[in-house]
C-alpha cells in the first residue's frame, strides 16, 4: 500500500491511479468531496452506464420494477415472464414484511414464472404467457396480475401488453404489464420509473370511494423492509393521520385504487417514487413533500411538517405530544449507547436514498460519516431537485416512457390554493423540495456515485471506518477485512429502523456491531507481535 493520502482530492487520485485511462477518466467525474451547508454544490456524474468488467453493486431494471416497487404489493400476483432465474432471485430476498390483514390475501411468499424454455424463445412466448395467466387465475383467483418482462422477452418481441389486455377482458380482473427488461436502463432506477408509470396508468384512481379521516396521506417510497412501514403506520395513527396507501410496502391493489383520495403525498425514497408524487399532483392536485422517517429527529421533523400542512391546531398539538413521548424513550437509549459509539466512523454506499437517510441515525450516535454514495441515483438525489431542468436526457433514459399527465377532468381538485401553498412555504414547508445528499456532507467526506469493488477496497484500506453500509454482495468482502458491514437493502434480519422504535433498534444494532469482540479475535496469540519465544514457565 502506498503512503496514506489525507484529503479527498489525493484519495481520489489514489482510487483511479491503476484504472485503464478511459475508466479513470469516467470515474473521476463521479467522485467528489462533500460540501458545507449553504455552499454551492458541484455537479456529480450519475445515472450513467456501468463500465463493463468493473465489479458493480448495481442490479437491473427488472430488479427495480418487480423486486423493489411492485414486489411488495401483497394481493397482486406478480408474474415474471422469462426464464426461471429472474423470478427465482426476486423471491423473498428483500424482506418486505407483510401483514395479510382481515382479507387474508398474500402472494408475497410465492414466486410465479412462465419459466420459458428454448421452444418459447424460438417460437415466441405469448401463448405460454396467456396460459400462465389463465393458470394463475384458476389456481389463485387474484384481484390483479402484473406481468414483468425479462431480457430475452424484450429481444424476441413478445407483446406482453396486448396479452395483458386480452386476458383482462377475458378474466375481468386488473391485468397490466411492465416492459422492464434488464438491459433497458443503467440500473434498477429505470425499473422504478416503469413500475410507477404502470401503476399510474392502470391502478391509481380507478375507484372513487369516501375515505374516512380528516388528515389523509399517502406514503410513497416505503417498502416495509424489516417492518419499517409498520412502525411508521403506528406513529401516524397515534398522531391522528389516516394512511390511505403505502407505495408499496404491505400494499394492496385496493389501496392503490383509492390513493387519489389522500390530501397529501409524502415521499420517503425520493429516487424510486418521486415520479408518482409528481404525476399525482398534476392529475389530482395533491401536493407532496419529502419526508424522512429514518432517525428519531428526522422522524419528528417529518411529523411536524406533515401536521403543519393540515394547519389544524388539534393535530399539531397531538403530534407534538406524540413526539415528546417517543423522543423520551429514544433519549434514554441514546444516553446509554452514545458514549460507546461517539466519534466512531461510518461509510454508506447503498441504494438511491438510503445512503442519505441513514446519515441521520449515525449522527444521533455521534458517529462521523467519512463517505457516502448511491448505487442507482440521479443527479437530483445528490444535488437537489433544483438541478432537474439541467439534467441531460441520454439514450438510456429516452428508452423509458415518459407519461403525459393532465389534470383529471373529474378528479382534479387542488388541495390548497396558491396563496395557501405560498404561505406554508414561507413557514418552511418546501413542497416538491429535496435538497439532495451532498450539501452538508462536509468537505472532508467523499461522495462517490456507483462505487465499484475496486474503489471500495481502496477506500477501506485508506479510511478503515468502524462500520460500512452496503448490500449482501459487499458484506463478506468488507468483513474479511475486519470491518463490520450493515446491510441497508435488507437489514440482515434486523429492523425496523424507521421511526422511533426503529431508531432504538438501530442504536442497539450499531452498538453491537462496532463494539463486538469478534474483530479482536482475528489474530491468534502466536500471530500477534512480540518476542518469538517467551521464557516464562506456564504451569
Amino acid at each position: 500500500m502506498s503512503t496514506k493520502p489525507t484529503n479527498v482530492e489525493e484519495i481520489k487520485k489514489e482510487l483511479i491511479a491503476k484504472m485503464p485511462t478511459k475508466v479513470a477518466r469516467k470515474r473521476a467525474k463521479s467522485i467528489l468531496p462533500g460540501t458545507e451547508v449553504g455552499e454551492p454544490i458541484p455537479e456529480i456524474q450519475s445515472n450513467v452506464r456501468t463500465i463493463p468488467g468493473v465489479i458493480t453493486q448495481r442490479g437491473c431494471t427488472y430488479a427495480g420494477c418487480k423486486g423493489v416497487v411492485l414486489g411488495p404489493s401483497r394481493d397482486i400476483v406478480n408474474l415474471t415472464h422469462g426464464p426461471i432465474g429472474c423470478g427465482f432471485y426476486s423471491w423473498l430476498t428483500r424482506r418486505n414484511q407483510t401483514d395479510a390483514g382481515p382479507d387474508g390475501e398474500n402472494f408475497i411468499p410465492y414466486a410465479f414464472s412462465t419459466d420459458m424454455t428454448e421452444h418459447d424463445i424460438v417460437f415466441g412466448g405469448e401463448k405460454k404467457l396467456r396460459a400462465a395467466i389463465q393458470e394463475a387465475y384458476d389456481n389463485f383467483h387474484p384481484k390483479a396480475i402484473s406481468i414483468f418482462s425479462t431480457c430475452p422477452v424484450g429481444l424476441i418481441g413478445d407483446d406482453i401488453h396486448a396479452v395483458a389486455r386480452t386476458m383482462q377482458e377475458e378474466l375481468g380482473i386488473t391485468i397490466f404489464a411492465n416492459s422492464c427488461e434488464g438491459y433497458k436502463g443503467v440500473s434498477q432506477s429505470a425499473g422504478h420509473h416503469i413500475a410507477n408509470n404502470q401503476i399510474m396508468k392502470h391502478v391509481i384512481g380507478t375507484k372513487d370511494v369516501e375515505v374516512e379521516g380528516k388528515f389523509k396521506v399517502n406514503m410513497l417510497g416505503e417498502y416495509n423492509i424489516g417492518g419499517d412501514a409498520f412502525e411508521i403506520e403506528r406513529i401516524l395513527e397515534k398522531c391522528g393521520f389516516t394512511l390511505v396507501a403505502t407505495f408499496s410496502g404491505n400494499s394492496t391493489v385496493e389501496d392503490f385504487r383509492k390513493a387519489h383520495a389522500a390530501d397529501l403525498n409524502t415521499v420517503m425514497c425520493h429516487r424510486s417514487l418521486n415520479y408518482v408524487a409528481e404525476m399525482m399532483e398534476t392529475k389530482y392536485g395533491i401536493p407532496w413533500i419529502k419526508v424522512n422517517f429514518i432517525g428519531a429527529e428526522a422522524s419528528a421533523k417529518s411529523l411536524r411538517r406533515m401536521a403543519a400542512y393540515f394547519e389544524d391546531q388539534e393535530l399539531i398539538d397531538r403530534t407534538e405530544a406524540v413526539i415528546a413521548e417517543e423522543l423520551e424513550k429514544v433519549k434514554t437509549v441514546v444516553d446509554e449507547i452514545k458514549p460507546r459509539t461517539d466519534g466512531k466512523t461510518a461509510m454508506l454506499f447503498v441504494g438511491g436514498s438510503r445512503a442519505h437517510h441513514y446519515q441521520e441515525l449515525f449522527k444521533e450516535l455521534g458517529m462521523k460519516i467519512l463517505g457516502a454514495g448511491y448505487e442507482f441515483a440521479h443527479r437530483d438525489d445528490y444535488e437537489g431537485r433544483h438541478v432537474l431542468p439541467t439534467i441531460k436526457i441520454d439514450a438510456d433514459s429516452r428508452n423509458i416512457e415518459e407519461l403525459e399527465i393532465h389534470p383529471d377532468p373529474e378528479r382534479f381538485k387542488p388541495r390548497k390554493t396558491e396563496e395557501e401553498l405560498a404561505r406554508l412555504n414561507e413557514k418552511g414547508l418546501d413542497f416538491k423540495g429535496y435538497e439532495g445528499m451532498i450539501g452538508g456532507m462536509g468537505k472532508d467526506a467523499m461522495v462517490i456515485d456507483d462505487i465499484n469493488h475496486y474503489e471500495t477496497e481502496k477506500l477501506l484500506e485508506i479510511y478503515k471506518p468502524d462500520i460500512f453500509c452496503a448490500g449482501i454482495k459487499e458484506k463478506y468482502i468488507v468483513q474479511k477485512m475486519g470491518i463490520p458491514l450493515k446491510q441497508l437493502h435488507n437489514y440482515d434480519m434486523g429492523g425496523p429502523y424507521a421511526g422511533f422504535n426503529g431508531a432504538i433498534n438501530w442504536y442497539r444494532d450499531i452498538d453491537r456491531m462496532v463494539n463486538t469482540k469478534v474483530w479482536n479475535l482475528i489474530k491468534a496469540p502466536w500471530q500477534t507481535d512480540g518476542p518469538e519465544l517467551e521464557a516464562t514457565y506456564v504451569a
Partner: protein, 461 residues
C-alpha cells in the same frame, strides 16, 4: 393463518405456470464452478442484473465473498451484440483485478442474441487484451435450457476444454469431478481418496474458497481451488470419476472422448450405499486396498443405523432439490427404512424417472415424483396437503411449507439462506451419512418430544 394460504390440495393441471420453483438458472451454477479454479474471475456476459442476482444468491448461501464481472449490456448491446462490451470487460478485468483466468459464461440475453464466446475470446487475444500466461475459458449457459445444475456442468466442461492437455506421459492420477455440492463435500470426497493414498485432481474444488477463514485481509483469489497446471494434467490421468450424472457427465465424457481418459459417472456419494460405491470404484481404479480407517468409519454408520432404525422406519419424507442430490437422498432414506413419499426436482432428465422407479420398486407406498417444468414446490405442497409426511428435506424455501403443515424440515441443497453448517460439514461420505442421520433424528425426535403426551414423554431412547 397459513403463510402459503392460497395453496390447496386441489391439483389442477399446469402447463405454463411455475410456482415456487425447485431450480434456478444456468449462470449461477457456472459461476459457482468457476470459483473452484484457483485465481479465477467469473464473468457474466449479459446485462448486469443477472450477475448481481447470481452473486447475491451465492453470497447468501455461502456467506462468503463472491465477486464477478458483467458485460453490463444496455439496449444498444442487445441489438448490436455484446462483442465490444466483452472485450472492454476483459481488458478492465485483467488491468484492475489481475486474475490468472477469466471464466466467461453467457446469460439468456447474450445467448438469444447469439454472441459467440469462442470468436470474441479469440478476438480479445488477437487484440492483445489477454496478458501473457493468462487464460480465458468460457461456457454457453442459456437459462432457457436446463437449470443451475446444467450451468455447473457446462462450465466444468468449459474449464476442462480450456486447460486439459495430453502429453502422452501418464501421471497415474485419478480425476474427480464432484457434482454440484458444498465445499465441505468436496473436501470430504478428497479426504476419502487421500485416506486410500490416491493422488487425485479435483475440478472444481471450492473448498477453502467458499468456506475460507477470517484473516483480517480480503483475498480476491484464496489460496485454494484447482490450479490451471493441475487441470492441464487431467489428460494424462488414469481415469475420471464423475459424481452426479447431471452435473458431471459432460465433463467426464469430454475427457474420455478427447483424451481417452476412461470415465465413470456415478451418483453423489450421499448415504451408505453410494459412498460404498465411490470407495469401491476408487479401490478398483487405483488397485489399492481400502484402509481400516475407512472400514471403521463405515462401521460407525452401520452402528448408528442399527441403533436408531426404529425411529426412521416407515417415516414418510418429502423432498425437493437437484436431481443428483435427491436421487442419492432417496436411496439413503430407503436404506434407513424411510418412505420417500414425494420428490420433485426442477431439472428434467429421463434418467430421473427411471432411477426413481428403480429405487422405489420395493417401497410399500404409492410414492409420487416429478421432474422438470412444473415440478415445483407448489406441487409438492399440494401433494402434502392431500396426505402429509413426517419430514421435509430441501432448501430454505421449504420452510414455509414446514411451518404451514407443521412438519420438521432438514435443510439440504441450494440455496440455504437461513442456516449455516452446510459450507463446513459434509453430507457426502460416511461422515456425511452420520451427519445426515443426526439431522434427521434430531428433527424426528424433537418432534416426538414436542408432541408426546405427559405419560409418554421419555428421558431416554
Amino acid at each position: 393463518m397459513a403463510l402459503l394460504r392460497h395453496t390447496t390440495g386441489e391439483i389442477k393441471e399446469r402447463k405454463a405456470l411455475t410456482v415456487n420453483p425447485a431450480k434456478t438458472c444456468q449462470p449461477v451454477g457456472a459461476m459457482y464452478a468457476a470459483l473452484g479454479v484457483k485465481g479465477c474471475f467469473p464473468h457474466s456476459h449479459g446485462s448486469q442484473g443477472c450477475c448481481a442476482y447470481h452473486r447475491s444468491a451465492l453470497t447468501r448461501h455461502y456467506k462468503e465473498p463472491v465477486v464477478a464481472g458483467t458485460s453490463s449490456f444496455t439496449e444498444g448491446s442487445s441489438v448490436f451484440g455484446g462483442q465490444s462490451n466483452l472485450i472492454t470487460a476483459i481488458d478492465n478485468i485483467f488491468t484492475l483485478y489481475d486474475p490468472e483466468v477469466i471464466a466467461i459464461h453467457t446469460t439468456c440475453l447474450s445467448e438469444t442474441i447469439g454472441d459467440d464466446l469462442m470468436q470474441i475470446s479469440q478476438k480479445a487475444k488477437d487484440d492483445g487484451k489477454v496478458p501473457a500466461g493468462k487464460h480465458i475459458v468460457y461456457a454457453s449457459t442459456p437459462s432457457y435450457v436446463g437449470t443451475h445444475v446444467t450451468g455447473y456442468a457446462n462450465m466444468v466442461k468449459g474449464i476442462l476444454k480450456g486447460f486439459v492437455k495430453k502429453t502422452g506421459t501418464p501421471n497415474g492420477k485419478i480425476n474427480i469431478i464432484p457434482g454440484f455440492c458444498e465445499p465441505s463435500d468436496m473436501a470430504e470426497i478428497r479426504r476419502l481418496a487421500d485416506m486410500m493414498g490416491i493422488d487425485i485432481t479435483m475440478v472444481p474444488d471450492t473448498n477453502g474458497v467458499l468456506n475460507g477463514p477470517m484473516t483480517g485481509h480480503y483475498e480476491m483469489y484464496p489460496n485454494a481451488g484447482a490450479t490451471p497446471a493441475e487441470i492441464a494434467g487431467m489428460g494424462d490421468a488414469k481415469a475420471t470419476i464423475g459424481l452426479g450424472r447431471w452435473a458431471t457427465a459432460d465433463g467426464v465424457n469430454f475427457l474420455d472422448a478427447e483424451f481417452k481418459v476412461p470415465g465413470h459417472v456415478m451418483g453423489l456419494p450421499i448415504g451408505l450405499k453410494a459412498t460404498d460405491r465411490y470407495v469401491d470404484l476408487l479401490r478398483k481404479l487405483s488397485g489399492k486396498t481400502v484402509p481400516d480407517a475407512i472400514n471403521f468409519e463405515r462401521g460407525q454408520v452401520v452402528d448408528l443405523l442399527s441403533d436408531y432404525s426404529q425411529y426412521f422406519y416407515g417415516k414418510k419424507v418429502a423432498m425437493a432439490g437437484d436431481p443428483d442430490q435427491v436421487l442419492a437422498l432417496v436411496e439413503f432414506c430407503i436404506t434407513l427404512g424411510m418412505i420417500p413419499a414425494y420428490t420433485v426436482t426442477g431439472t428434467a432428465g429421463k434418467y430421473f424417472d427411471e432411477r426413481m422407479a428403480e429405487l422405489l420398486k420395493d417401497v410399500p407406498y404409492d410414492c409420487k415424483f416429478k421432474c422438470g417444468g412444473e415440478a415445483d414446490m407448489y406441487l409438492l405442497h399440494q401433494w402434502i396437503k392431500n396426505d402429509p409426511v413426517d419430514l421435509l428435506i430441501g432448501n430454505t424455501y421449504l420452510k414455509y411449507v414446514a411451518r404451514d403443515e407443521d412438519i420438521p424440515l432438514v435443510r439440504h441443497g441450494f440455496p440455504i439462506l437461513d442456516r449455516v453448517g452446510h459450507q463446513y460439514f459434509p453430507s457426502v461420505g460416511y461422515s456425511g451419512a452420520m451427519r445426515l442421520m443426526e439431522k434427521f433424528l434430531e428433527a424426528l425426535l424433537d418432534r416426538l418430544d414436542r408432541d408426546a403426551p405427559e405419560t409418554r414423554f421419555e428421558l431416554q431412547l
